[in-house]
């Protein structure tokens, strides 16, 4: 510990700090691994914790409301409101959401948009895209989202920035899948991010009395594989409208640039 007669205190010695470095690194890595094991069980889709919903959540109306206990916003799973009018099993829903996520990655969406707040800052965050008031109301939403994704430059709402989304040449299947992915994403409990968000007007979030009893407080538990999600009613009442008919309806985007 000493050189040329200069004594080094133990707390300033190389040996002490080497041991410190090894111990601290090992301990922190261990804690991270233990926390990771726990977190991975919590964020399993449809797990009991209810933070990440089962994929069949896209069969339901989804809300985003202030939780009075937590004093932050939480997603709420409402009554059955199937995407494109077609109820899906958990496996079908997962396949659809999976296709949507693959499409979002393949088209490199994250280098303009943010997803759960991560990505680039050239275009709006997609965390609550499904609930954005820009779609007007829930009756017009699926049609408007479809139209927009099929031809973004024409249907762009740039609010004066001039920034348009390039046409990603999405197929009809990819459009449906991306919308399903966005709907599922909007039901993830993100600890209140984004804060103060005002969703578009929707119908009641309270399920009919016959369905699973859900209060707002109990909603987070309902995100799991509770009966309403696991037992879709089949067959669906109607087949989804062909995408090409969207433009023919003459519905215009609210606040077009």
């Amino acid at each position: 510990m000493s050189e040329s007669g200069i004594r080094t205190e133990w707390w300033a010695s190389e040996n002490f700090w080497r041991k410190c470095a090894i111990f601290v690194t090992g301990f922190m890595a261990l804690v991270l691994v233990l926390l990771t094991f726990h977190t991975l069980t919590v964020i399993e889709a449809g797990s009991e914790a209810g933070r990440v919903p089962a994929y069949a959540v896209i069969n339901h109306r989804i809300g985003y409301v202030m939780d009075d206990d937590k004093r932050r916003m939480v997603p709420v799973i409402g009554p059955v409101a199937p995407l494109f009018g077609e109820e899906l099993t958990e496996a079908e829903a997962m396949a659809l959401v999976d296709h949507g996520k693959l499409t979002v990655q393949a088209r490199n969406c994250m280098n303009c948009h943010t997803i759960l707040g991560n990505g680039a800052y050239y275009a709006p965050d997609l965390t609550k895209a499904w609930l954005d008031p820009g779609w007007g109301n829930e009756d017009a939403r699926e049609l408007l989202m479809t139209m927009f994704l099929k031809d973004p430059p024409t249907n762009a709402r740039t609010y004066g920035t001039g920034r348009r989304m390039p046409n990603q040449e999405l197929t009809d299947d990819e459009v449906r899948a991306v919308i399903a992915y966005l709907k599922w994403m909007s039901a993830i409990d993100t600890n209140g991010f984004p804060s103060g968000f005002k969703p578009l007007p929707q119908g009641s979030l309270t399920p009919p009395a016959a369905a699973a009893p859900q209060s707002r407080a109990g909603a987070s538990r309902a995100l799991g594989t509770s009966p309403p999600l696991a037992q879709p009613r089949r067959p669906s009442t109607k087949s989804p409208p062909p995408l090409t008919s969207a433009a023919a309806t003459g519905l215009s985007m609210r606040g077009a640039s």
Partner: protein
Amino acid sequence: MKIGKINYSELSTAQQLSVKYFTVAMVLFLAQLVFGLIAAWQFLAPDFLFGVLDFNVNRMVHINAMVVWMLYGFIGAIFWLVEDESGVPLVGVWIANATFYVLTVAVTIVVLVYLFVQSGPGDAWTLWLINEGREYIEAPRWADIGIVICMVAFFYNVAGTFVAGRWSGISGVLVLDLVALAGLYLAGMFYTTNLPMDQYWWWWVIHLWVEATWEVLVGCIMAWGLIKTLGARRRIVTTWLYVEVALMFGSGILGLGHHYFWIGTPEYWLGIGGFFSALEPVPLVAMVVHAVYDAGRHHFRSSNHPALAWLIAHAFGNFIGAGVFGFMQTLPQINLYTHGTQWSSSHGHLAFFGAYTTIIVAFIYLTIQRLRGDVWMSSDIQGGWRWKWSLALLHVGMVGMSMALLIAGYEQSFVERAMGGSTWQAYFEGQTQPWFIQAMWWRMVFGVIMTAGLVLLLVDFVKIGAGDTRPIQAVAASDAVEDAAQPAGAVAKAAGGG
């Protein structure tokens, strides 16, 4: 060795590899700035190259070029010090050379595919062949596998050389850190439908690289650099390195939690992430103290002024860019409003530059000094205005950009997030505020200044030391207790035993 001339053929193979890696790194650095400028201009003129080179392509090349050139820079720096630090020639020369060419060809193909194919259908093939669509690690899966193989080969070269020669505190930390760095990359090499799961592991790569293993890596490089440029005492430098490792991993590993606030992960990450990431600046303060102490202890008398200047710039840049700018938005109470705004972009720019660009540039100056036959690089360098002006322009440009983006981030946090409730309309209201638009203009102006600085820097790399006949200034340690037996006047060759 002919002083003032190019002595490439007289360098060892490891040193020649450094020159190669640094050369590619600088080409990619220039590419990073060019694509950054295009992307910045698209904020101001959105129709520019619309449908040809869209923002997402430019931005992807911008950040990927950065990640890759910094990795090239680190590899170059490690090849530069490995023989000196181990005392023996590089092990596996053939493999090391092959790795360089394989890696460089792979990087070239990836970039060409980014530019000319850009995207693909929504299936697994696109992720395997074109792009994975995950920020920072977009490289397709085939390239991931190639990168891992190259990293294993590189690890064999480095660890094998230390095994064949001697170990030191610096090399021990370095080798263990490389294991962690390469291993973490695997966490980013899978696909899952579950978005929170995806982002959970994605941050293992991004955060545990940038805010943990990369920082420790540059700590090792810095330690060696201070011994070389100043003749700092190895025992003190090594002790400091251990202190930094303890503090860096002590705060940075769980500091990972600041990326787990809003991605669907449990609420306990708010507390853990907030607490530990708030401590992350502490090791960076230690690094500043360390560098300034050593420089002052040796009266700033160094064998390589540009390298020392960039090492000092690293110490401060790391602390301010990574430490202060990161701390500003790391607590969840503020991050709720700043997450995903230009605030993050401001921090990202200053942190990557301050922490990593600076130290790689410092190392390139050390390399060039040797390449020019151990030429004089202390006071009164011929054409010395070039390195000073390029340093100044790069810093003015970067600080200016970061400040402009910070102002844009403040504005975005208030207008879009706090007032507007983060709807798309609120987003665009934020983007059209005069303050935001002005900030985008200033970012563009400072980006051009920075690019001018880089061009001057590259010119200086070619010209510095050329034609000078003065030999390197000796920086024999001023401490009587110096423990390394360094032959006076040959600092660049000094092995510095532990």
